[in-house]
């Protein structure tokens, strides 16, 4: 561990490399997290099937690539398909748990995630798949920092998608309805907003975001039926850190997590990378709780 830190101190450019690559991955996490924050904030549902949506989107890109269609085209296609899937899931299951407690939604969406994993395994096989976008690599600082173009592209697309979403939520009628419902469902209902439809759209929108995100994952990383969990967990972590309804926070936390994770993996060894993420989650929660707790001491 110490020699790893030594490397970083001696060659700061490596830190830069780690951080930049981490930021690129973080953008994808942030995108998925934004979807999770949307569903959580508007519908009060924690969607454990988030990662499975991402992987499903990835498979859309993989399948299209297999038919010779450039995976970039898969980004909107995956979003559309996943919107439909999300909408259908809402109409069959999710609408029944909207007004129940978070615990119910965690368990129910966990069930959904198992089913999705299994179906993906049956349909697409258990193999590791990729969608090749056929892009090169960008070098900086005498080749010491290398960034895959596809990751840069994914980063850019994530940014575009994110800002489109913000504009959509601000400007469009549906977006305004979603925001109104998030703030006060009962009042929204009184004002004539069909909250049920808003919820369906929100859940579909989240799935669509994940789908687009997944297509990027398939281009830049790998997909596999059982690898959704990391995306769920990191989305979760990001939302918890950033809080709901705080887009800037979600982006900052997403990018920060990506970078921190990469540096931690380098310093502690990759075997502790995931443990680091989770312990960070626990530490953040405990710290938040401490901060919120009153400063009154115990009676001695």
């Amino acid at each position: 561990m110490l020699d790893n830190i030594e490397i970083l101190v001696q060659a700061p450019v490596i830190t830069l490399d780690l951080v930049l690559n981490g930021l690129l991955l973080g953008a994808i996490f942030a995108l998925a997290a934004y979807g999770m924050a949307l569903v959580w904030g508007v519908m009060n549902i924690i969607n454990i099937a988030q990662g499975e949506f991402v992987i499903l989107g990835g498979y859309v890109a993989v399948v299209m690539a297999a038919y010779g269609i450039h995976p970039l085209i898969a980004v909107p296609v995956a979003a559309l398909l996943l919107y439909a899937i999300g909408w259908a899931l809402y109409r069959t299951v999710i609408f029944r748990i909207v007004d129940r407690d978070l615990f119910t939604s965690i368990l129910a969406t966990f069930g959904i995630s198992i089913v999705l994993q299994q179906l993906m395994n049956t349909i697409f096989g258990g193999n590791v798949r990729i969608a090749d976008a056929g892009l090169g690599t960008v070098f900086l600082m005498n080749g010491m920092v290398s960034l895959a173009q596809v990751k840069l592209l994914a980063f850019a697309l994530a940014a575009v998608l994110g800002s489109t979403l913000v504009v959509f939520l601000k400007r469009s009628r549906l977006g305004q309805a979603i925001r109104a419902t998030a703030q006060h469902p009962r009042a929204a209902r009184v004002l004539g907003i069909d909250t049920d439809r808003v919820y369906a759209a929100t859940y579909g929108l989240n799935a669509a975001i994940c789908g687009a995100c997944g297509a990027l994952v398939a281009m830049a990383y790998t997909v596999h039926p059982y690898i959704g969990l990391p995306y769920t967990i990191r989305s979760f972590m990001i939302v918890v850190v950033a809080g709901l309804g705080n887009l800037a926070g979600v982006i900052a936390a997403g990018l920060g997590l990506g970078a921190a994770e990469n540096v931690a993996g380098f310093v502690f060894g990759t075997q502790y990378q995931l443990a680091f993420v989770f312990l960070l989650l626990v530490v953040v929660l405990v710290w938040r709780n401490r901060r919120l707790a009153r400063k009154r001491g115990y009676l001695k």
Partner: protein
């Protein structure tokens, strides 16, 4: 000298809003003291500050001469200072008797006491107090199934079960059927006389508080506006203005 509760220059703000500004008051042992004031004048905030639900920004709170400003809620309660809530809080999925049994005084008791065998004295006391508030026939019902008024009575009984030295009641008659209010006042007075419990009562209903309290403090906009005996306060022009102004 025999002030049981002393509040000295207590301030508390939430976000940017200053809910309590340098409030000082005291409640003497054995008395019934009222706290009135228009909506949003900081009465409930002061209660919460006293019993330790949240930290105060400035000031000192003493109970029986001992500073409790930094104690947590549970520890304040264990000293014998118990509050009730405006929106009643009871244990909805437990029966009335169970509600009572877990409400007995925690003063000086340890975790271990929770594992002790049943205590017939405690059970008898619970029945008596349920009888006292008129809920005895409903003692085996789930508390959550009671009407709002009955829940208020149950909460009152639970507070008595705790054998507090001082009981702080947040609007004990709010939401209660007007025909039942006299019964509530009667029981509060009996609790004060028979059980020797000092009462500190937030009340909106002027008729009730004038009837009940021996001394009254009035808050407005987070500050102490007036104090005195009921008739003094009632005739205080500032109090009248505050109430009228709030409408």
């Amino acid at each position: 000298m025999n002030a049981m509760l002393e509040v000295e220059r207590v301030s508390k703000s939430y976000g940017g809003v200053r809910a309590n500004r340098s409030i000082s008051l005291s409640v003497e042992e054995g008395r019934i003291v009222g706290l009135i004031g228009p909506n949003g004048s900081g009465k409930t905030t002061l209660f919460s500050s006293i019993v330790g639900t949240h930290p105060i920004d400035e000031g000192v709170i003493r109970f029986e001469g001992r500073e409790i400003s930094h104690l947590r809620a549970a520890d304040v309660a264990r000293l014998g200072l118990i509050r009730t809530f405006q929106q009643t809080r009871i244990y909805g999925r437990m029966t009335c008797v169970e509600n009572m049994l877990i409400s007995s005084s925690q003063r000086g008791s340890s975790l271990f006491d929770l594992f002790r065998a049943r205590n017939p004295l405690r059970e008898k006391r619970a029945e008596e107090l349920l009888e006292f508030v008129g809920l005895h026939p409903k003692r085996h019902l789930q508390a959550g199934s009671l009407s709002f008024g009955q829940q208020k009575l149950l909460e009152f009984a639970m507070a008595l079960m705790n054998e507090p030295k001082m009981l702080m009641l947040d609007e004990p008659t709010a939401g209660i059927n007007p025909t039942l209010i006299n019964g509530v006042i009667d029981r509060l007075k009996r609790a004060n006389e028979e059980f020797g419990i000092t009462l500190f009562v937030i009340e909106h209903n002027m008729r009730v508080i004038m009837n009940l309290a021996e001394y009254i403090y009035c808050l407005a906009h987070g500050e102490l506006l007036a104090q005195g005996r009921p008739d003094e306060v009632r005739n205080d022009q500032r109090v009248v203005d505050a109430y009228l102004g709030s409408h």
